[in-house]
Structure formats: structure tokens, C-alpha cells
């Protein structure tokens, strides 16, 4: 308990420092101005969500191979956290896109594939609510988790190919990213990854407690 408390405190501190650095330390971008600062939340969230989906995939494969419930708990926890970060990406994207591109949404390759990714994992979470039996749910959703993750590179590939055939919006290219901006970006990535680990851990413990409760209830019924 104390360990979780300390870890939570460190994550909160990191998030605070990142927020300060994004607003006050990083220089203002010359063409887009203040709105570009959302980049420090937007891009690292995207990378964090992909990391969470990778963890979920590992959990799914490990569950199929070992049948230990803890891998299923990891898979669902990571998928939920990944969807949360992916939602942040999809919400901050339009806030940035509107002043920068003049539209809320552009069917650009990265945006579109992130949206499809979000839909896939939302479907994964919905599937889990539709099966009562815990073992069956774990197995079936692990299978779908594997399918979903395998689909990701194909989704990215096909959408990228498709969009590059059409006119592209003028995208802010980060080729010559300022060194301070880069540092703030990495700091933000670090703190969001720590936040992801914390959330997955908490969600995992919740799943564990649910399982314990279920076992206790079953024992009670048996008496």
C-alpha cells in the first residue's frame, strides 16, 4: 500500500513538472504559437497508448498459452488504459488541428488509423462485457486481442498507402525540432509512461479483487 502511495506521488510530481515544462520551459513555436504546446500531451499519449496495446497483446498471448487468469487481467487492464490514452490523442488532435489546419478533422493517415485502432480496442472491451463465464471470456477475448494487434500494422499500412494517394494536409513537420522542445517531449513521454504503468497496476489489482470476491461468493453459496 505504502509502495503504491509513493509511486503515485512520484507520478503526480512528474506530471506536474511536465505540465510546467510544457507551458513555461519549452519555447513558443514560431508559426503556430501557443496551441502547439498541446503537442507535449498529444504525441506522447499516442506512443503510450501503443505501448499499452503491446502490453495487452503480450497478456493475451500469454493467457492463451498458460491459462493463468493473471495474464487475462493484464490484457484487459492494459487495453482499457490504452483506450483511455488513445481517447486523449483523438480529443487533443482536433483541438490542435483546428487552428493549425483550419479543420477539426482531416482524413490524414495517422489520424484515421488511430481512430480505427480506437474502434478495434473499444470492440475488444465491449466483447468482454458480453460473456458471463470468466474463463470463456478470458480465452475468447485473448483470441480477439491477438487478432486486433495483428491487424494494427495492416491498418496502418493500408491507410497510409490510401491517404498518400490523395492530397495531404499541410502537416507541421518536426524535422528541426528545437532541443528544449525535444527534452520536454521526452520528459512528457516518460511521465505518461509512468502514469500508464500506475493505471495498469491499479486496474490489475481491481480485477484481482473482483476474482477474490467471486471466489468468496462461490464458497459462501456452497455452504
Amino acid at each position: 500500500m505504502a509502495k503504491t502511495g509513493i509511486y503515485t506521488f512520484i507520478v503526480c510530481l512528474l506530471i506536474g513538472v511536465t505540465a510546467y515544462a510544457s507551458f513555461y520551459v519549452a519555447p513558443t513555436e514560431s508559426t503556430m504559437g501557443l496551441v502547439q504546446r498541446i503537442f507535449y500531451l498529444h504525441a506522447p499519449s499516442g506512443m503510450t497508448s501503443l505501448a499499452a496495446f503491446l502490453v495487452s497483446f503480450i497478456g493475451s498471448v500469454a493467457y492463451i498459452l498458460t491459462r493463468k487468469p493473471r495474464w487475462d487481467w493484464l490484457a484487459v487492464s492494459a487495453a482499457e488504459v490504452g483506450v483511455a490514452f488513445c481517447t486523449v490523442v483523438l480529443l487533443t488532435g482536433p483541438i490542435w488541428a483546428h487552428p493549425a489546419w483550419g479543420v477539426w478533422w482531416a482524413w490524414d493517415a495517422r489520424l484515421t488509423s488511430t481512430l480505427v485502432l480506437w474502434l478495434l480496442y473499444v470492440a475488444f472491451l465491449i466483447l468482454r462485457t458480453m460473456i458471463e463465464d470468466a474463463d470463456r471470456r478470458a480465452l475468447v477475448s485473448a483470441f480477439f486481442g491477438v487478432f486486433t494487434f495483428l491487424d494494427v500494422p495492416l491498418v496502418y499500412g493500408s491507410i497510409w498507402w490510401w491517404r498518400t494517394q490523395h492530397p495531404q494536409p499541410v502537416v507541421f513537420t518536426s524535422a528541426g525540432l528545437d532541443p528544449t522542445m525535444r527534452k520536454v517531449f521526452y520528459l512528457s513521454w516518460l511521465s505518461l509512461t509512468c502514469l500508464m504503468a500506475l493505471l495498469i497496476r491499479q486496474r490489475y489489482e481491481l480485477e484481482q479483487s473482483r476474482e477474490e470476491l467471486r471466489t468468496l461468493e462461490q464458497e459462501l453459496e456452497a455452504h
Binding site: 492463451i64 480505427v116 465491449i126 475468447v140 483470441f143 487478432f147 493500408s158 498507402w161 490510401w162
Partner: protein, 224 residues
Amino acid sequence: MPLLSNTAVLLRKELQSEYRSHELLTTASVFILIVIVLFSFTFDPTSAESRQFGPGLLWLAFLFSASLMLQPCFLKERTNDTLSALRLAVSDPFAIFLAKLCANTIFLLVTELLLLFVFAVFYNVAVLSVFPKLALVFFLGSMGIATTGTALSAISSQARMREVLLPLLLMPLLVPVLIPSTEATKALLEAEPTLRWDWLGILIAFDVVFLTALWLFGEYLLEE
């Protein structure tokens, strides 16, 4: 090879039961026909426009009908509990999937090719000259739909709200099939038809990846 002989027997069973009932092919064909007719009300189906939107429309109709067609694939085995009998009968459980996905590919392909001609007449598009190439695109696309669809049908048959669940799981997963199939079909229906191997490459990659995944993990889905 017991896998192939088992698959052949099961495939025969699937085709025979469809031949006797005509349920899937009739309903799916009529469904696609309805969608094609309804779509024509949403824009002016002149020839130039139909070349532009037609392939996308056609593939969307195929996708919708596939999500209906694949629904009973495992459900019918569940009603009379024939799945356990099937599992006992075959030496490799992958044969069950392989037979079902071959049957589904055939059913999808037959309805698609049938409806292609109706589409060509309604929307004034010439398809005869590029028919073999179109058939190749349709085959690769249908195989992708059938592979993932058969696996997901095994999943959804074990869940509540299965009628809604299957399209919900299937549609986003099929984005890498919808885009290449539509683009490849579009390229073949243009004034100067070309067979786009880059798009076909994505379709082949999709088919190979999911067929392998099904081969590796599919048998766990059939566990009781």
C-alpha cells in the same frame, strides 16, 4: 494428409447443406441487391460517378452481407450441439475452421460475382473485359473476410447480443481488406484498367497473417 481429407469431407458437408437449403446464398444476394438499389437513391448513378463511388459501394454491400452470412456459421453447430461431434470426428481441429472458411469464401465469392453483373447493368459499368482480374480481387478480398469472419463467428456464437456483436468486431478489423479491395476494383473499372499489385499485396498479406493466426490459435476457440 488427414487435415486435407478431413477438410474435404467437412467442406462437402457445408456445401451440401447449403445446396439443400439455399438459405445463405438467396438471402445474401437479395440483401446486396437491396443495398445496391438503395444506394442509387443517395446519389445520381450516372456512369462517371458510378466509376468513382461504385467500387466502394459494392464492397460496403459485400461487407454488410458478409456480416449477416457469417452469423450462422458456428451458431448452427451450437443449436444441436454438433460442434462436439465435429471435434470428435476430426484429428486436427483446424480442419473445422478450414472447411468453414473455404465454404464461406465460396459463398461470398458466388454472391459477389453474381451481384457484380447486376451492379454493372444498373450502374452502366463495363466489367466483362476485366472479369478474370476482378475475380482475382474478389477472391482475395472474400478470403480475408471469410478467414476473420469465421473466427469471429466462433467468438460471437459464445456471447450475448451475438447478432450485433459480430459486425461490431468484424467491421473495424476488415479495414485493411476494404481499402485495398475497393482501390483495386476501382483501378480495374477505370477507362484504362490496371491490376494494382500493390493493393493485392496488402490483401495477400492480410490473408496470410490471419490464416496463420487461425491455424496457431484457432483450436482454443473450439474448447468446451
